[in-house]
Symmetry: C2
Subunit: 198 residues, 2 copies
Amino acid sequence: MPKPKTDSRDRLIETAARLFQRQGYQGTGLSQIVEESGAPRGSVYFLFPGGKEELAIEAIEQSTLMVRKQIELAAGNSHSVEEWIRSLAAHFIEDLESSNYLQGCPISTVTLESVPDSPALQKACRLAYDLWIEDITIVLIRFGIHKEDAGELAVFLLSAVEGALILCRAQGSAKPLEIGTKLSIELVKAKQHGIMEP
Amino acid sequence: MPKPKTDSRDRLIETAARLFQRQGYQGTGLSQIVEESGAPRGSVYFLFPGGKEELAIEAIEQSTLMVRKQIELAAGNSHSVEEWIRSLAAHFIEDLESSNYLQGCPISTVTLESVPDSPALQKACRLAYDLWIEDITIVLIRFGIHKEDAGELAVFLLSAVEGALILCRAQGSAKPLEIGTKLSIELVKAKQHGIMEP
DNA sequence: CGTTATATATACTGATCGTTATAGTTTCCT
DNA sequence: AGGAAACTATAACGATCAGTATATATAACG
Protein backbone atom coordinates (compact mmCIF):
# COMPACT_ATOMS: atom_id res chain seq x y z
CA MET A 1 0.00 0.00 0.00
CA PRO A 2 1.72 3.15 -1.21
CA LYS A 3 1.71 6.20 0.99
CA PRO A 4 0.50 9.44 -0.55
CA LYS A 5 2.97 12.22 -1.06
CA THR A 6 0.47 15.03 -0.82
CA ASP A 7 -2.78 15.63 1.01
CA SER A 8 -4.57 16.52 -2.21
CA ARG A 9 -6.50 13.31 -2.20
CA ASP A 10 -7.83 13.75 1.31
CA ARG A 11 -8.64 17.39 0.70
CA LEU A 12 -10.66 16.53 -2.38
CA ILE A 13 -12.59 13.78 -0.64
CA GLU A 14 -13.34 15.87 2.40
CA THR A 15 -14.49 18.86 0.37
CA ALA A 16 -16.51 16.65 -1.96
CA ALA A 17 -18.23 15.00 0.99
CA ARG A 18 -19.26 18.36 2.42
CA LEU A 19 -20.48 19.73 -0.89
CA PHE A 20 -22.37 16.59 -1.83
CA GLN A 21 -24.03 16.69 1.57
CA ARG A 22 -25.18 20.25 1.00
CA GLN A 23 -25.83 20.37 -2.72
CA GLY A 24 -26.09 16.83 -3.88
CA TYR A 25 -24.25 15.11 -6.68
CA GLN A 26 -25.64 16.88 -9.69
CA GLY A 27 -25.59 20.21 -7.97
CA THR A 28 -21.88 20.05 -7.27
CA GLY A 29 -19.38 20.68 -10.02
CA LEU A 30 -15.86 19.34 -10.06
CA SER A 31 -14.61 22.89 -10.42
CA GLN A 32 -16.21 23.91 -7.15
CA ILE A 33 -14.71 20.93 -5.38
CA VAL A 34 -11.29 21.81 -6.74
CA GLU A 35 -11.60 25.46 -5.75
CA GLU A 36 -12.85 24.91 -2.22
CA SER A 37 -10.46 22.10 -1.53
CA GLY A 38 -7.45 24.08 -2.62
CA ALA A 39 -6.17 20.99 -4.36
CA PRO A 40 -4.59 21.40 -7.79
CA ARG A 41 -6.88 21.03 -10.76
CA GLY A 42 -4.47 18.81 -12.59
CA SER A 43 -4.55 16.18 -9.89
CA VAL A 44 -8.19 15.25 -10.01
CA TYR A 45 -8.08 12.68 -12.77
CA PHE A 46 -4.70 11.46 -11.63
CA LEU A 47 -5.93 10.75 -8.12
CA PHE A 48 -9.40 9.69 -9.24
CA PRO A 49 -9.18 8.12 -12.71
CA GLY A 50 -12.88 7.37 -12.50
CA GLY A 51 -13.59 11.07 -12.37
CA LYS A 52 -16.48 12.59 -10.48
CA GLU A 53 -18.20 9.30 -9.83
CA GLU A 54 -15.16 7.74 -8.20
CA LEU A 55 -14.61 10.82 -6.07
CA ALA A 56 -18.24 10.73 -5.03
CA ILE A 57 -18.03 7.10 -4.02
CA GLU A 58 -15.03 7.79 -1.85
CA ALA A 59 -16.76 10.79 -0.35
CA ILE A 60 -19.82 8.69 0.46
CA GLU A 61 -17.63 6.02 2.00
CA GLN A 62 -15.94 8.59 4.17
CA SER A 63 -19.25 10.04 5.30
CA THR A 64 -20.48 6.55 6.01
CA LEU A 65 -17.53 5.91 8.26
CA MET A 66 -17.95 9.22 10.08
CA VAL A 67 -21.50 8.39 11.05
CA ARG A 68 -20.50 4.90 12.11
CA LYS A 69 -17.86 6.36 14.40
CA GLN A 70 -20.40 8.76 15.80
CA ILE A 71 -22.81 5.93 16.52
CA GLU A 72 -20.12 4.01 18.35
CA LEU A 73 -18.74 7.05 20.15
CA ALA A 74 -22.14 8.06 21.43
CA ALA A 75 -22.83 4.51 22.53
CA GLY A 76 -19.55 4.29 24.41
CA ASN A 77 -20.27 7.48 26.29
CA SER A 78 -23.80 6.50 27.27
CA HIS A 79 -25.25 4.36 30.00
CA SER A 80 -28.73 3.99 28.55
CA VAL A 81 -30.55 3.97 25.21
CA GLU A 82 -32.05 7.28 26.09
CA GLU A 83 -28.67 8.85 26.67
CA TRP A 84 -27.34 7.34 23.51
CA ILE A 85 -30.16 8.60 21.32
CA ARG A 86 -29.89 12.05 22.87
CA SER A 87 -26.19 12.14 22.24
CA LEU A 88 -26.55 11.14 18.63
CA ALA A 89 -29.34 13.63 18.07
CA ALA A 90 -27.26 16.39 19.61
CA HIS A 91 -24.56 15.70 17.10
CA PHE A 92 -26.89 16.05 14.14
CA ILE A 93 -28.51 19.13 15.59
CA GLU A 94 -25.09 20.68 16.01
CA ASP A 95 -24.32 19.90 12.38
CA LEU A 96 -27.61 21.44 11.30
CA GLU A 97 -27.34 24.61 13.32
CA SER A 98 -23.69 25.26 12.60
CA SER A 99 -24.39 25.05 8.87
CA ASN A 100 -27.53 27.18 8.86
CA TYR A 101 -29.55 24.01 8.24
CA LEU A 102 -27.68 23.09 5.12
CA GLN A 103 -26.06 19.92 6.39
CA GLY A 104 -28.46 17.15 7.17
CA CYS A 105 -27.73 13.54 6.36
CA PRO A 106 -24.45 13.42 4.48
CA ILE A 107 -25.66 10.97 1.86
CA SER A 108 -29.43 11.24 1.50
CA THR A 109 -29.39 13.74 -1.34
CA VAL A 110 -26.85 11.73 -3.29
CA THR A 111 -28.81 8.56 -2.60
CA LEU A 112 -31.96 9.97 -4.10
CA GLU A 113 -30.07 11.30 -7.09
CA SER A 114 -28.04 8.19 -7.75
CA VAL A 115 -30.95 5.84 -8.32
CA PRO A 116 -30.63 4.54 -10.96
CA ASP A 117 -28.21 6.86 -12.71
CA SER A 118 -25.00 5.49 -11.22
CA PRO A 119 -25.14 1.90 -10.02
CA ALA A 120 -21.76 2.14 -8.32
CA LEU A 121 -22.72 5.23 -6.39
CA GLN A 122 -26.06 3.71 -5.52
CA LYS A 123 -24.29 0.67 -4.19
CA ALA A 124 -22.14 2.80 -1.91
CA CYS A 125 -25.21 4.57 -0.56
CA ARG A 126 -27.06 1.35 0.00
CA LEU A 127 -24.09 -0.07 1.86
CA ALA A 128 -24.01 3.00 4.06
CA TYR A 129 -27.56 2.48 5.23
CA ASP A 130 -27.04 -1.23 5.70
CA LEU A 131 -24.01 -0.62 7.87
CA TRP A 132 -25.74 2.04 9.93
CA ILE A 133 -28.69 -0.27 10.50
CA GLU A 134 -26.34 -3.01 11.54
CA ASP A 135 -24.51 -0.71 13.95
CA ILE A 136 -27.70 0.61 15.47
CA THR A 137 -29.06 -2.88 15.87
CA ILE A 138 -25.99 -4.00 17.78
CA VAL A 139 -26.11 -1.01 20.09
CA LEU A 140 -29.79 -1.53 20.72
CA ILE A 141 -29.19 -5.12 21.73
CA ARG A 142 -26.30 -4.02 23.92
CA PHE A 143 -28.70 -1.71 25.71
CA GLY A 144 -31.14 -4.46 26.42
CA ILE A 145 -33.55 -4.35 23.52
CA HIS A 146 -34.90 -7.78 22.70
CA LYS A 147 -32.98 -9.33 19.84
CA GLU A 148 -36.14 -10.00 17.88
CA ASP A 149 -37.13 -6.34 18.08
CA ALA A 150 -33.76 -4.71 17.53
CA GLY A 151 -33.47 -5.12 13.77
CA GLU A 152 -36.80 -3.59 12.90
CA LEU A 153 -36.40 -0.95 15.53
CA ALA A 154 -33.07 0.07 14.04
CA VAL A 155 -34.63 0.50 10.62
CA PHE A 156 -37.42 2.53 12.11
CA LEU A 157 -35.15 4.78 14.15
CA LEU A 158 -32.91 5.43 11.17
CA SER A 159 -35.96 6.21 9.05
CA ALA A 160 -37.19 8.66 11.64
CA VAL A 161 -33.84 10.44 11.76
CA GLU A 162 -33.47 10.59 7.99
CA GLY A 163 -36.95 11.97 7.58
CA ALA A 164 -36.56 14.42 10.40
CA LEU A 165 -33.36 15.75 8.84
CA ILE A 166 -35.26 16.47 5.65
CA LEU A 167 -37.94 18.34 7.55
CA CYS A 168 -35.29 20.25 9.45
CA ARG A 169 -33.69 21.42 6.25
CA ALA A 170 -37.03 22.30 4.71
CA GLN A 171 -38.13 24.30 7.73
CA GLY A 172 -34.81 25.71 8.75
CA SER A 173 -35.37 24.40 12.23
CA ALA A 174 -34.17 21.60 14.44
CA LYS A 175 -37.64 21.06 15.84
CA PRO A 176 -38.51 17.96 13.80
CA LEU A 177 -35.37 16.23 14.98
CA GLU A 178 -36.08 17.21 18.58
CA ILE A 179 -39.53 15.74 18.28
CA GLY A 180 -38.07 12.67 16.64
CA THR A 181 -35.65 12.27 19.50
CA LYS A 182 -38.34 12.52 22.12
CA LEU A 183 -40.73 10.07 20.52
CA SER A 184 -37.97 7.68 19.53
CA ILE A 185 -36.89 7.48 23.14
CA GLU A 186 -40.43 6.84 24.25
CA LEU A 187 -40.84 4.11 21.69
CA VAL A 188 -37.57 2.40 22.49
CA LYS A 189 -38.24 2.46 26.21
CA ALA A 190 -41.67 0.99 25.67
CA LYS A 191 -40.18 -1.75 23.56
CA GLN A 192 -37.47 -2.27 26.13
CA HIS A 193 -39.94 -2.89 28.91
CA GLY A 194 -42.26 -4.87 26.74
CA ILE A 195 -45.26 -2.69 27.51
CA MET A 196 -46.14 -2.59 23.87
CA GLU A 197 -47.63 -5.49 22.04
CA PRO A 198 -49.62 -5.26 18.85
CA MET B 1 -59.40 33.52 -14.69
CA PRO B 2 -58.64 32.64 -18.31
CA LYS B 3 -59.18 29.12 -19.48
CA PRO B 4 -56.29 27.41 -21.25
CA LYS B 5 -56.65 26.54 -24.89
CA THR B 6 -54.32 23.60 -24.83
CA ASP B 7 -53.34 20.98 -22.33
CA SER B 8 -49.65 21.75 -22.82
CA ARG B 9 -49.43 23.38 -19.44
CA ASP B 10 -50.87 20.44 -17.57
CA ARG B 11 -48.78 17.98 -19.52
CA LEU B 12 -45.61 19.87 -18.67
CA ILE B 13 -46.45 20.11 -14.99
CA GLU B 14 -47.41 16.48 -14.72
CA THR B 15 -44.30 15.26 -16.50
CA ALA B 16 -42.08 17.62 -14.57
CA ALA B 17 -43.54 16.39 -11.29
CA ARG B 18 -42.82 12.78 -12.17
CA LEU B 19 -39.29 13.47 -13.38
CA PHE B 20 -38.41 15.67 -10.43
CA GLN B 21 -39.66 12.95 -8.15
CA ARG B 22 -37.40 10.41 -9.78
CA GLN B 23 -34.36 12.44 -10.74
CA GLY B 24 -34.52 15.62 -8.74
CA TYR B 25 -34.30 19.16 -9.93
CA GLN B 26 -30.73 19.33 -11.16
CA GLY B 27 -30.91 15.91 -12.66
CA THR B 28 -33.86 16.78 -14.87
CA GLY B 29 -33.38 18.84 -17.97
CA LEU B 30 -36.03 20.96 -19.60
CA SER B 31 -35.46 19.08 -22.82
CA GLN B 32 -36.38 15.80 -21.19
CA ILE B 33 -39.52 17.30 -19.73
CA VAL B 34 -40.51 18.63 -23.12
CA GLU B 35 -39.86 15.35 -24.85
CA GLU B 36 -41.66 13.11 -22.39
CA SER B 37 -44.59 15.46 -22.01
CA GLY B 38 -45.14 15.71 -25.72
CA ALA B 39 -45.74 19.42 -25.27
CA PRO B 40 -44.27 21.77 -27.87
CA ARG B 41 -40.84 23.12 -27.11
CA GLY B 42 -41.79 26.64 -28.02
CA SER B 43 -44.45 26.80 -25.35
CA VAL B 44 -42.33 26.35 -22.29
CA TYR B 45 -41.28 29.94 -21.74
CA PHE B 46 -44.63 31.19 -22.89
CA LEU B 47 -46.51 29.11 -20.34
CA PHE B 48 -43.81 29.44 -17.69
CA PRO B 49 -42.04 32.78 -18.09
CA GLY B 50 -40.02 31.99 -14.99
CA GLY B 51 -38.49 29.04 -16.78
CA LYS B 52 -37.46 25.84 -15.07
CA GLU B 53 -37.85 27.22 -11.58
CA GLU B 54 -41.44 28.28 -12.12
CA LEU B 55 -42.29 24.96 -13.68
CA ALA B 56 -40.70 23.19 -10.74
CA ILE B 57 -42.70 25.22 -8.25
CA GLU B 58 -45.93 24.33 -9.99
CA ALA B 59 -44.89 20.69 -10.14
CA ILE B 60 -44.16 20.69 -6.42
CA GLU B 61 -47.49 22.33 -5.71
CA GLN B 62 -49.26 19.68 -7.73
CA SER B 63 -47.45 16.89 -5.94
CA THR B 64 -48.28 18.53 -2.65
CA LEU B 65 -51.94 18.52 -3.50
CA MET B 66 -51.86 14.92 -4.64
CA VAL B 67 -50.51 13.73 -1.33
CA ARG B 68 -53.02 15.86 0.54
CA LYS B 69 -55.83 14.25 -1.39
CA GLN B 70 -54.39 10.84 -0.63
CA ILE B 71 -54.26 11.60 3.06
CA GLU B 72 -57.88 12.69 3.05
CA LEU B 73 -59.05 9.87 0.83
CA ALA B 74 -57.44 7.23 3.00
CA ALA B 75 -58.88 8.85 6.10
CA GLY B 76 -62.36 8.88 4.63
CA ASN B 77 -62.18 5.21 3.79
CA SER B 78 -60.89 4.15 7.19
CA HIS B 79 -62.53 3.48 10.52
CA SER B 80 -59.40 3.54 12.64
CA VAL B 81 -55.93 5.05 12.72
CA GLU B 82 -54.50 1.67 12.00
CA GLU B 83 -56.57 1.27 8.88
CA TRP B 84 -55.71 4.76 7.79
CA ILE B 85 -51.98 4.32 8.17
CA ARG B 86 -52.12 1.00 6.37
CA SER B 87 -54.06 2.52 3.52
CA LEU B 88 -51.62 5.37 3.13
CA ALA B 89 -48.65 3.07 3.30
CA ALA B 90 -50.18 0.80 0.68
CA HIS B 91 -50.40 3.74 -1.65
CA PHE B 92 -46.72 4.61 -1.30
CA ILE B 93 -45.68 0.99 -1.60
CA GLU B 94 -47.69 0.72 -4.79
CA ASP B 95 -45.93 3.80 -6.13
CA LEU B 96 -42.56 2.34 -5.21
CA GLU B 97 -43.12 -1.09 -6.67
CA SER B 98 -44.76 0.08 -9.86
CA SER B 99 -41.79 2.33 -10.56
CA ASN B 100 -39.09 -0.18 -9.72
CA TYR B 101 -38.36 1.80 -6.55
CA LEU B 102 -37.72 5.03 -8.37
CA GLN B 103 -40.65 6.99 -7.05
CA GLY B 104 -40.54 7.70 -3.36
CA CYS B 105 -41.59 10.99 -1.88
CA PRO B 106 -42.45 13.32 -4.76
CA ILE B 107 -40.64 16.29 -3.31
CA SER B 108 -37.86 15.14 -1.00
CA THR B 109 -35.12 15.16 -3.61
CA VAL B 110 -36.04 18.62 -4.79
CA THR B 111 -36.27 19.81 -1.21
CA LEU B 112 -32.74 18.73 -0.45
CA GLU B 113 -31.47 20.28 -3.65
CA SER B 114 -33.32 23.55 -3.34
CA VAL B 115 -31.79 24.61 -0.05
CA PRO B 116 -30.57 27.29 -0.43
CA ASP B 117 -30.19 27.52 -4.17
CA SER B 118 -33.71 28.59 -4.99
CA PRO B 119 -35.62 30.35 -2.19
CA ALA B 120 -38.89 30.22 -4.09
CA LEU B 121 -38.64 26.51 -4.68
CA GLN B 122 -37.56 25.94 -1.11
CA LYS B 123 -40.62 27.85 0.06
CA ALA B 124 -42.90 25.62 -1.97
CA CYS B 125 -41.28 22.51 -0.47
CA ARG B 126 -41.52 23.85 3.03
CA LEU B 127 -45.18 24.66 2.53
CA ALA B 128 -45.77 21.13 1.32
CA TYR B 129 -44.45 19.60 4.52
CA ASP B 130 -46.32 22.12 6.66
CA LEU B 131 -49.58 21.29 4.94
CA TRP B 132 -49.04 17.55 5.21
CA ILE B 133 -48.26 17.87 8.90
CA GLU B 134 -51.40 19.93 9.36
CA ASP B 135 -53.50 17.39 7.50
CA ILE B 136 -52.07 14.47 9.41
CA THR B 137 -52.59 16.25 12.70
CA ILE B 138 -56.25 16.84 11.95
CA VAL B 139 -56.83 13.23 10.96
CA LEU B 140 -55.06 11.99 14.08
CA ILE B 141 -57.30 14.12 16.27
CA ARG B 142 -60.31 12.90 14.34
CA PHE B 143 -59.28 9.34 15.18
CA GLY B 144 -59.08 10.08 18.87
CA ILE B 145 -55.47 11.05 19.44
CA HIS B 146 -55.12 13.55 22.25
CA LYS B 147 -54.88 17.06 20.87
CA GLU B 148 -51.70 17.76 22.80
CA ASP B 149 -50.03 14.71 21.24
CA ALA B 150 -51.29 14.99 17.68
CA GLY B 151 -49.01 17.74 16.41
CA GLU B 152 -45.77 16.12 17.45
CA LEU B 153 -46.99 12.71 16.45
CA ALA B 154 -47.79 14.01 12.98
CA VAL B 155 -44.27 15.36 12.56
CA PHE B 156 -42.85 12.07 13.74
CA LEU B 157 -45.02 9.93 11.49
CA LEU B 158 -44.18 12.06 8.48
CA SER B 159 -40.49 11.86 9.35
CA ALA B 160 -40.71 8.11 9.57
CA VAL B 161 -42.38 7.84 6.19
CA GLU B 162 -39.97 10.21 4.49
CA GLY B 163 -36.99 8.40 5.90
CA ALA B 164 -38.41 5.00 5.09
CA LEU B 165 -38.96 6.06 1.49
CA ILE B 166 -35.30 6.96 1.22
CA LEU B 167 -34.27 3.58 2.57
CA CYS B 168 -36.69 1.86 0.21
CA ARG B 169 -35.14 3.57 -2.78
CA ALA B 170 -31.64 2.84 -1.55
CA GLN B 171 -32.37 -0.83 -0.97
CA GLY B 172 -34.76 -1.40 -3.81
CA SER B 173 -37.23 -2.85 -1.36
CA ALA B 174 -40.43 -1.86 0.35
CA LYS B 175 -39.35 -3.47 3.59
CA PRO B 176 -38.36 -0.27 5.42
CA LEU B 177 -41.76 1.22 4.74
CA GLU B 178 -43.48 -1.96 5.90
CA ILE B 179 -41.52 -1.84 9.11
CA GLY B 180 -42.33 1.83 9.46
CA THR B 181 -46.00 1.10 9.02
CA LYS B 182 -45.99 -1.60 11.65
CA LEU B 183 -44.13 0.39 14.27
CA SER B 184 -45.99 3.60 13.53
CA ILE B 185 -49.26 1.81 14.18
CA GLU B 186 -47.95 0.43 17.45
CA LEU B 187 -46.79 3.85 18.52
CA VAL B 188 -50.00 5.61 17.62
CA LYS B 189 -52.13 3.01 19.36
CA ALA B 190 -50.03 3.29 22.48
CA LYS B 191 -50.40 7.05 22.40
CA GLN B 192 -54.10 6.66 21.76
CA HIS B 193 -54.64 4.58 24.85
CA GLY B 194 -52.28 6.59 26.95
CA ILE B 195 -50.16 3.60 27.90
CA MET B 196 -47.05 5.52 27.17
CA GLU B 197 -45.74 8.25 29.40
CA PRO B 198 -42.19 9.50 29.45
C1' DC C 1 23.62 12.40 -10.53
C1' DG C 2 20.02 10.52 -13.06
C1' DT C 3 16.09 7.89 -13.61
C1' DT C 4 11.51 6.69 -12.55
C1' DA C 5 7.14 7.27 -10.58
C1' DT C 6 4.24 10.62 -8.75
C1' DA C 7 2.10 14.81 -9.17
C1' DT C 8 0.50 19.15 -11.40
C1' DA C 9 -0.30 22.77 -15.24
C1' DT C 10 -2.71 24.08 -19.25
C1' DA C 11 -5.58 23.90 -23.05
C1' DC C 12 -9.06 21.90 -25.37
C1' DT C 13 -13.05 18.88 -26.62
C1' DG C 14 -17.84 17.89 -27.39
C1' DA C 15 -21.95 17.96 -25.12
C1' DT C 16 -25.64 19.86 -22.61
C1' DC C 17 -27.61 23.26 -20.01
C1' DG C 18 -31.19 27.19 -19.30
C1' DT C 19 -32.48 31.12 -21.65
C1' DT C 20 -33.57 34.58 -25.25
C1' DA C 21 -34.84 36.57 -29.72
C1' DT C 22 -37.43 36.45 -33.60
C1' DA C 23 -40.64 34.84 -36.54
C1' DG C 24 -44.53 32.14 -37.66
C1' DT C 25 -48.86 29.90 -36.73
C1' DT C 26 -53.31 28.96 -34.75
C1' DT C 27 -57.48 30.20 -32.30
C1' DC C 28 -60.90 33.14 -30.48
C1' DC C 29 -63.88 37.15 -30.62
C1' DT C 30 -66.48 40.76 -32.77
C1' DA D 1 -63.69 38.56 -42.50
C1' DG D 2 -60.28 40.78 -39.73
C1' DG D 3 -57.60 41.85 -35.96
C1' DA D 4 -55.91 40.54 -31.55
C1' DA D 5 -54.42 37.34 -28.43
C1' DA D 6 -52.74 32.91 -27.49
C1' DC D 7 -49.63 29.57 -28.85
C1' DT D 8 -45.65 27.33 -31.26
C1' DA D 9 -41.14 26.76 -34.25
C1' DT D 10 -36.51 27.56 -34.82
C1' DA D 11 -32.10 29.12 -34.09
C1' DA D 12 -28.74 30.85 -31.56
C1' DC D 13 -26.55 32.43 -27.20
C1' DG D 14 -23.18 32.19 -23.43
C1' DA D 15 -22.12 29.39 -19.81
C1' DT D 16 -20.81 25.35 -17.63
C1' DC D 17 -20.14 20.70 -17.52
C1' DA D 18 -17.17 16.21 -17.20
C1' DG D 19 -13.51 14.44 -19.38
C1' DT D 20 -9.00 14.10 -22.28
C1' DA D 21 -4.42 15.04 -24.22
C1' DT D 22 -0.10 16.73 -23.77
C1' DA D 23 3.56 18.75 -21.49
C1' DT D 24 5.94 19.97 -17.37
C1' DA D 25 7.35 19.82 -12.79
C1' DT D 26 8.44 17.69 -8.35
C1' DA D 27 9.93 14.19 -5.48
C1' DA D 28 11.84 9.53 -4.22
C1' DC D 29 15.46 6.39 -4.83
C1' DG D 30 19.29 3.74 -6.46
